[in-house]
């Protein structure tokens, strides 16, 4: 339509037009909070290492005590990096699922990926072990690559299934229901395995299901980090489609979004992010549900160009802090990570939902 003159009147001078900026200040503040939490998580623990010493060690300098360098490099750095990656991955994945399904209760696990992972772990810990009890000790299994491999296989199997379905079904809601059903099926199999298993193995399985950032080694990080990197890049590439999907699939299609391709991409990256994290850290509850809500409330925006970086930074911060709380630096116990994320996450979601206006703003009612 070349013959139309897009002249606007001078009203704009009276009420200035809003700008859809990327809010760099807010995003940088979030990034700084993540860095702060990262240093804090390296500094606190059973042995307290001053933050300036942490920085010295990270920059390759000599610490006051040689043992500190070992603690940082062998234990705390891989754990902190895992927490950062996992927090970012789960939050972005949760955001994608909430937008794709237009459902505020969707989280990274709605597609059944974590159910697949838990089935894989259950089969290894509870099932295969039963045949040759003498060969594998339960404690050995836990620290072993086998567990991560089993979880990865389980997650990957469900991921493939979901991807095939994502390409074939008409409506995304169908995917949601299929994901739920996969969840029920796997939990049924897991409870059967639990029923016929022995106490030590059940305990090992439950320990895995509590979730932990601690068990990930440098070697495992070499798998986890690229997987999450690919997932996040894919998510960033799909930002524009996610924005169009805010209006629903019919509108998105009318705006030129190739729905099948966009859905395939979103499901692939969301499931990859959730699957990778679950495989190495266990099913981490609530982060993926709560962080997107928190970001929307903080930024008062549903624009994914803002929400994706925000979810990466806030998600990582939250995961680092939750891990810190679970370590309980002043006490000699370690709490289950899932208990902490739920204890922090549930009140956050309740608080966000109960705030007037945002309730309607965060999808309907």
């Amino acid at each position: 339509m070349t013959d139309r003159a897009y002249q606007t009147t001078n009203d704009a001078a009276v009420t200035p037009w809003p700008r859809l900026g990327l809010r760099p200040l807010a995003i940088v503040a979030m990034a700084l909070s993540m860095l702060g939490a990262f240093v804090l998580s390296l500094s606190l623990g059973s042995v307290r290492i001053p933050p300036d010493q942490v920085l010295t060690i990270l920059l390759g300098g000599e610490a006051e005590r040689a043992s500190w360098t070992t603690i940082i490099y062998d234990f705390r750095l891989p754990k902190a990096m895992t927490a950062t990656l996992a927090g970012a991955a789960l939050s972005v994945s949760g955001l994608q699922m909430q937008t794709l399904f237009r459902n505020p209760l969707a989280d990274p696990f709605v597609l059944g990926v974590s159910s697949g992972a838990s089935l894989g772990v259950a089969l290894v810990v509870l099932g295969v072990g039963a045949a040759n009890t003498a060969l594998l000790s339960v404690v050995g299994l836990l620290s072993n690559f086998t567990l991560a491999a089993a979880a990865s296989l389980g997650a990957a199997a469900v991921l493939m299934l979901v991807l095939i379905l994502a390409h074939r079904v008409q409506h995304s809601v169908t995917l949601l229901i299929l994901g739920l059903m996969i969840g029920y099926l796997t939990s049924a199999v897991v409870s059967l395995l639990l029923y016929f298993s022995i106490a030590e193995r059940i305990q090992a399985y439950i320990a895995w299901s509590f979730g932990s950032f601690g068990g990930v080694t440098w070697a495992q990080l070499r798998v986890l980090a690229p997987a999450i990197g690919i997932g996040l890049l894919l998510a960033i590439a799909l930002t524009k489609s996610l924005n169009a999907l805010l209006l629903g699939e019919a509108y998105a299609r009318s705006m030129g979004v190739d729905i099948r391709r966009a859905r395939f991409g979103i499901v692939a990256s969301g499931a990859l992010l959730a699957g990778a994290v679950t495989a190495f850290c266990g099913p981490i509850a609530f982060l993926g549900l709560a962080v997107p809500h928190l970001c929307r409330a903080l930024l008062r925006s549903a624009d994914h160009r803002l929400l994706i970086p925000a979810c990466i930074f806030i998600g990582a911060t939250t995961a680092l802090l939750a891990d810190l709380v679970a370590q309980a630096p002043t006490m000699s116990v370690v709490f289950p990570l899932n208990a902490i994320t739920s204890l922090l996450g549930a009140p956050t979601v309740i608080w966000i939902i109960l705030r007037r206006g945002v309730q309607r703003g965060t999808f309907g009612v």
Binding site: R4, M255, S301, A302, R305, G361
Partner: protein, 354 residues
């Protein structure tokens, strides 16, 4: 004729069903839409209005025939190229979360922006133009969930406009609005068609509004028959009367209105003139009295006084005259008289039997 932006040849719409059979909703449709035209698509629920709109917007393939948009076959467009020529407003109420009206309208630039979705100055200018075109510039900073239904619908029209479409398709855009808001949206669309030469197709149940504002009516009936033409042409041909014959609605060709169908058992002779006469006649018809100019009639109604302060003189079956100052009282009294009469009759019949 030039300026045809959308047309369809021998179009059949419907759904493919099982075993290679199809559920055909309508067939052999010939459609044309020109720039600056407003087409209203009318028809009872289930006649296939939405199916026709989905087919014309490429969301569903036709069973047969071809659709031409901007001189090319509709099925040849990819999603992005189609989105640059056609935009939609759907019936469903969208819930988008915390998004300002401005950001929502800016989503309409989707088929024009790069992969990051960044708005160039040209895009911003069009978003602002679209907001002003629907008189919603003052809503730009408001959150979409704070808007009333009417405001929200205007924003959705602005979003569709920002897509710079050749054809804008609206599926029952006034479905959940009250009457003033419906008129407002219809006027807005009429103005866009006239001033911006926008071609618009909208489906609606609002027959009288459609008759007043459409350039062309597309009428789909429940049995798949399709009528098309200017509203006035369709009225003169008697098409509207035919279509709504069995629905309990009567189309009054003289007045261009629909009325509820009622059996008129009694006649009232009405004398008077001007506005008061027209509205008195309506009140009497609503009460089930046929208005006649000349006797014989069961009731005689005379309007006395002028049109500003009328009063009414009534007599039924030659009984003494009564005066009333409102039509409500007139109707009430007439109905009372009828009921008394019926009771008498029933009583008389009962004694006869005894």
């Amino acid at each position: 004729m030039t300026n045809v932006v959308l047309s369809a040849e021998n179009l059949s719409i419907g759904y493919p069903a099982r075993r290679r059979q199809c559920r055909v909703i309508a067939k052999d449709l010939q459609l044309h839409l020109r720039r600056g035209e407003v087409v209203c698509l009318l028809g009872p629920n289930g006649a296939g209005k939405s199916t026709l709109l989905r087919t014309l917007t490429g969301m569903q393939p036709p069973l047969a025939g071809r659709i031409w948009l901007d001189g090319q076959d509709l099925s040849a467009f990819n999603a992005r190229e189609l989105a640059r020529r056609m935009s939609v407003v759907l019936t469903e109420r969208v819930e988008v979360g915390p998004l300002t009206a401005y950001a929502l309208v800016a989503l309409g630039r989707h088929p024009y922006t790069d992969w990051t979705g960044r708005l160039r100055p040209h895009d911003e200018a069009i978003v602002r133009w679209a907001l002003e075109a629907v008189h919603a510039a003052h809503l730009a900073r408001r959150m979409v969930y704070e808007l009333s239904d009417g405001e929200r619908q205007r924003i959705m029209v602005a979003r569709a406009l920002a897509q710079e479409p050749l054809v804008m398709v609206l599926d029952e855009p006034t479905a959940f609005l009250d009457l003033p808001r419906r008129v407002e949206i219809m006027q807005l669309l009429r103005r866009l068609a006239r001033e911006a030469r926008q071609a618009i197709i909208l489906s609606t149940h609002d027959l009288e509004l459609a008759l007043n504002m459409a350039d062309v009516l597309w009428l789909l009936t429940a049995d798949g028959t399709f009528y098309c033409g200017a509203p006035e042409d369709l009225v003169l041909k008697g098409v509207l009367e035919t279509i709504f014959a069995d629905t309990g609605m009567v189309f009054d060709r003289m007045r261009g209105q629909f009325r509820m169908h009622q059996t008129m058992r009694r006649r009232a002779n009405l004398t008077g003139d001007g506005l008061a006469k027209i509205w008195t006649a309506r009140a009497l018809e609503r009460a089930g009295w046929q208005v006649v100019e000349l006797p014989p009639a069961e009731a005689h109604v005379t309007i006395i006084g002028d049109n500003h302060q009328p009063s009414w003189e009534l007599s039924v079956n030659g009984a003494p005259k009564q005066q009333f100052t409102s039509l409500y009282a007139v109707v009430h009294w007439l109905q009372q008289q009828c009921q008394e009469e019926e009771q008498h009759e029933r009583h008389a019949r009962a004694t006869d039997c005894a």
